[in-house]
């Protein structure tokens, strides 16, 4: 699952009920080397994003169709404000209320220069507000949102790393720190504090797993109980090495 966002793969979903404006925005975006999908309504946009219009939005919402979400990644949504049915503002709200979609930057376009409309959209989380007709110079601004979007992905990555398994290598000696110190203080030969390899255990811990393995000197490998293998949660891939 690559997290890198390459230049040519930045995918923009453009939403507009006007066929001419869809053609225009498509050309503008393609000229700037973005991948483009156009739809003619807010509800179709939500469908494309994998969200259904009537879904209840809950804090732990996972109503995004998993298959659709993985196949079609949208990096930015640009939408007209005035549309029959679901307005661009409604679409913006739905996206920002969705735990799975809220990090997608949304840009609003409108033919009308209404300051209260503009501030309402920006307050709701829109990145930018373009006045129509949209020009190449406007689309060039999207580049800034692109890097911001990448930063968001990077932040997510570092957060994920924090939860990655912690590997602890312990020796029997270390697990009895007090004794060790006492031994040194009492001037006991340092040889006694050197770990014996047969005492070596490797403990793998993460938020959902703690697996203890023992080192086998003869095989120079760490082993764990077969029974324990079956206790490993499903999301972890288990790779088994068998030696003849």
């Amino acid at each position: 699952m690559g997290m890198a966002v390459e230049e040519s793969q930045f995918h923009v979903l453009a939403v507009d009920d006007s066929i001419i404006d869809r053609k225009l925005i498509e050309r503008l975006l393609k000229t700037s080397s973005y991948q483009v999908t156009t739809v003619d309504s807010g509800s179709k946009a939500l469908e494309f994003l994998g969200l259904h219009e009537n879904d209840r939005i809950t804090p732990n919402e996972t109503s995004v169709s998993p298959k659709l979400h993985q196949e079609v990644e949208v990096n930015l949504v640009i939408t007209d404000y005035c549309m029959p049915g679901m307005s661009g503002y409604d679409l913006l709200k739905k996206i920002k209320e969705s735990s799975s979609l809220k990090n997608i930057p949304v840009v609003i376009m409108s033919s009308e220069d209404v300051p209260s409309r503009i501030s309402r959209c920006l307050e709701e989380g829109a990145e930018e507000f373009f006045l129509k007709p949209v020009r190449l110079s406007d689309v060039n601004k999207l580049h800034l949102m692109r890097t911001k979007c990448c930063k968001n992905i990077q932040n997510q990555e570092t957060q994920e790393n924090k939860e990655s398994p912690e590997i602890q290598l312990q020796t029997a000696a270390q697990s009895n720190n007090n004794n060790k110190r006492k031994a040194i203080d009492e001037g006991i030969s340092p040889d006694r504090t050197r770990p014996r390899y047969s005492d070596l255990t490797l403990t793998l811990t993460s938020t959902s797993l703690s697996l203890s393995t023992k080192y086998s000197p003869s095989r120079n490998s760490f082993f764990c109980d077969r029974k324990k293998l079956s206790e490993i949660p499903a999301e972890y891939q288990v790779v088994l090495w068998y030696e003849n």
């Binding site: 006007s18 066929i19 001419i20 404006d21 053609k23 225009l24 050309r27 503008l28 000229t31 005035c82 029959p84 033919s111 129509k132 007709p133 020009r135 190449l136």
Partner: protein, 152 residues
């Protein structure tokens, strides 16, 4: 080569007059900028869609204003669409007529609406005619082996 030069001059004079008389505005220039070798027909495509779309809108406007009880919100919706599309192709006079038309919709002024439907229709057919002439000139230049002079 003489012919190409003549056609090019004709083209420049004609398009200059269209800008001067506000039939077209800067948005048309923007459209030209989006046309390139990979999309050589872009302007023709957009303009064709505009013609088709507008005919439909004019019909919808006429029928909605002919109803026993006129739904001015609906009429306003059509005018809003027309205003948007004309603005997107750079048809300035059509757009301006739509702006005034909208005011009459808001006032629920049937007479005003009917008058402005006629005006919008008039302006549309005028600019349609001009654009067809312009695009034909472009074709002639290209067929004579010349290049269409870039705008501004």
């Amino acid at each position: 080569m003489e012919i190409v030069g003549q056609l090019q001059k004709q083209y420049v004079d004609f398009i200059t007059s269209l800008f001067r008389e506000a039939y077209l505005d800067d948005q048309y220039v923007q459209l030209q900028k989006l046309q390139d070798d990979s999309n050589p027909e872009f302007v023709v495509e957009v303009v064709s869609i505009f013609f088709e779309d507008s005919e439909k809108l004019l019909n919808d406007l006429a029928s909605s204003l002919q109803q026993q009880v006129v739904d001015f919100k609906k009429v306003d919706g059509y005018v809003h669409q027309f205003k948007g599309s004309s603005s997107s192709v750079g048809a300035q006079r059509v757009k301006n007529a739509c702006v005034d038309f909208k005011n009459f919709c808001e006032e629920k002024n049937l007479d005003g609406c009917l008058r402005f439907l006629n005006l919008v229709k008039q302006e549309f057919y005028l600019v349609k005619n001009k654009l067809e002439t312009l695009l034909r000139l472009e074709q002639q230049i290209l067929q004579a082996g010349g290049m269409v002079p870039p705008l501004e």
